[in-house]
């Protein structure tokens, strides 16, 4: 008996290898190899018109003394720290609303999905026009409601450009958070709430004592996905501010891209490796904090 199970197991293993082969090869060739290639290139002076030369860690040494690199690192950290919590709060709010038994619930869900379906570049262009100084929607509404003292040059100062990016990013990515959290909410049985209601709790107590703790693992998943996405942000910024004013909104990815674009692959690769390490460390930290390590499998 043991023997037949064993041969069956071996055969399955071979067959499984065949089935997995295209998937594994594609990922090896176009994800793993490029990342290793980038790491390797980061040890070289690799600039157009100059001979390639092994420099080991000198690109990384140059990073340490590069004020523009630190500026973009600070911006990226601040962007993650501000935009991700905002998106989680908004996403949770939307998910709670969409989980209610409302009329037109399906229509509402479809509406909330719109920003998720719109291409990021399209969203960026649209918000660029919204922030336009002379005829943008933001200044029009600001003038109408007198919330702003006068027209604001939204993308013209570092602080307002930062805020403008955060709002545009929140618009584009909140639906994703809301969708994930909605799925988490739907797993909570109604009976728990009924019992709590009988016990005379208020709805905010029920949210903080029941909903939030049950939702925690799902929140961690949303947090991981959003943070990693925010750490590597490029496209939205490329269109909205192009890293300005004065380099104040240049993300690490955009900073690295600039070097690739100028033909400095060695230094650009070193920046890219930093982005990789940040994304990697973030996911490990969160997964630890969420208690996902090993226990789940």
């Amino acid at each position: 008996m043991g023997r037949t199970a064993d041969t069956r197991g071996n055969r399955d293993g071979l067959v499984a290898g065949g089935f997995m082969l295209p998937l594994v090869l594609t990922i090896l060739a176009f994800v793993v190899l490029p990342v290793l290639g980038t790491l390797w290139t980061s040890f070289f002076r690799d600039v157009t018109y100059l001979p390639r030369k092994l420099m080991w860690f000198s690109n990384y040494g140059r990073l340490l003394g590069d004020a523009a690199f630190w500026q973009s690192a600070r911006f990226t950290a601040l962007f993650v720290a501000v935009s991700v919590p905002l998106e989680l709060v908004l996403g949770t709010t939307f998910a709670l609303i969409l989980n209610e038994r409302l009329r037109y619930r399906n229509a509402l869900r479809a509406m909330v999905l719109i920003p998720w379906a719109v291409p990021t570049i399209v969203a960026a262009r649209t918000w660029e026009l919204i922030y336009n100084y002379s005829y943008g929607l933001a200044n029009y509404l600001g003038g109408l409601t007198h919330v702003t003292p006068g027209p604001v040059n939204w993308l013209g100062s570092p602080a307002s450009a930062f805020g403008a990016l955060v709002v545009a990013d929140a618009w584009k990515t909140t639906p994703f958070v809301a969708i994930i959290l909605l799925a988490g909410l739907q797993t909570i049985p109604e009976t728990i709430y009924e019992q709590a209601r009988v016990d005379g709790t208020r709805f905010d107590q029920r949210f903080f004592k029941i909903t939030l703790p049950i939702l925690k693992p799902v929140l961690v998943v949303a947090l991981v996905f959003r943070s990693i996405d925010a750490v590597r942000i490029l496209d939205l910024i490329y269109v909205l501010t192009d890293g300005g004013p004065g380099g104040s909104t240049t993300s690490l990815s955009l900073y690295g891209y600039r070097f690739f674009n100028e033909g400095d692959f060695g230094y650009g690769s070193a920046v890219a490796v930093v982005v990789f390490i940040l994304a990697f460390v973030l996911s490990i930290v969160y997964l630890r904090a969420g208690g996902f390590t090993r226990a789940s499998r």
């Binding site: 399955d12 999905l113 649209t126 002379s134 996905f225 994304a279």
Partner: protein, 276 residues
């Protein structure tokens, strides 16, 4: 009683905010796209409706909008079909076959979706130059394929996990090989999962920016997002009417697809994300 009212008010306020926040920018895009000039909110300018922006981007050759659209549809379509098939093969193995390192392989593949694109694009650019494939479809198709595979793999694996193994066993007893079982039995049953995986892949490929920005140089392979990002007027002014019309045409199919398949999308995005 009092609590029920507070709750109702809060929900009403929330719904109004949610709908305004989600729709207003999109509505603004549509409005500008049919406006003769984008500055109708400025004092002394009236709104005048026109279809001119749409007519121009569809007919003026030098804008290349239709070529960008064709490239996006072609690359997105090829990637969606190829990726769904390759992912389905892997999903079949993980959901049906016992082999060592099965969960490790499954989780490891998911981890690859976390890799920042900036870590790949420098190498991919050089690769495209060595092979002479810069500004061609293959230069985009292969990176997109690898980049969307983890997500598609997870959607399809979790879909196939739900299909009882009795289907396989019945066919295997009849003497069918594993691949026949996959192709003739499991793949057809997985059609709904395949469709929504393809939808997600297509949207991802259609929206991708950084790879397309670096790996294409002009309208022969340039995709819609890059086209829209680099749209410039002849004299340095920004042709907002054209940009918003192009934006509307680029997003409408996706928005309609997402709305129609709302339930599937919600299920699959969460399945992919939460099963992890």
């Amino acid at each position: 009683m009092n609590e029920a009212r507070t709750r109702k008010v809060l929900i009403a306020v929330g719904v109004v905010f949610m709908v305004t926040f989600s729709l207003a920018p999109f509505a603004w895009m549509l409005l500008v796209s049919v406006s003769r000039s984008p500055d109708f909110l400025a004092q002394g300018v009236d709104f005048a409706a026109t279809a001119r922006n749409y007519a121009d981007i569809l007919t003026v050759k030098s804008l290349h909008f239709l070529e960008y659209l064709r490239n996006s549809l072609a690359v997105g379509g090829i990637v969606a079909v190829a990726c769904a098939l390759v992912a389905a093969l892997g999903g079949y193995a993980v959901s049906r076959l016992e082999f060592r390192g099965r969960t490790t392989a499954a989780l490891g593949i998911l981890a690859f979706s976390m890799f920042p694109q900036i870590c790949l694009v420098g190498y991919l650019y050089k690769l495209a130059h060595w092979t002479g494939l810069v500004n061609t479809y293959p230069a985009l198709v292969f990176p997109y394929l690898a980049w969307t595979l983890p997500m598609a793999f997870w959607v399809l694996t979790s879909y196939m996990m739900q299909i009882p193994r009795d289907f396989d066993d019945a066919a295997l007893v009849d003497g069918a090989g594993r691949f026949t079982v996959f192709w003739r039995v499991i793949l057809p049953i997985s059609a709904p999962g395949l469709l929504s995986a393809m939808l997600l892949i297509f949207i991802a490929a259609f929206n991708e920016f950084l790879f397309a920005l670096m790996l294409t140089t002009d309208y022969h392979a340039r995709t819609i997002p890059v086209g829209i990002a680099l749209f410039e007027g002849l004299h340095g002014e920004i042709p907002w009417g054209y940009i918003m019309a192009a934006s509307a045409l680029a997003s409408l199919p996706l928005v309609i697809l997402a709305a129609v398949f709302q339930r599937h999308v919600i299920q699959d995005v969460t399945r992919g994300a939460l099963k992890a």
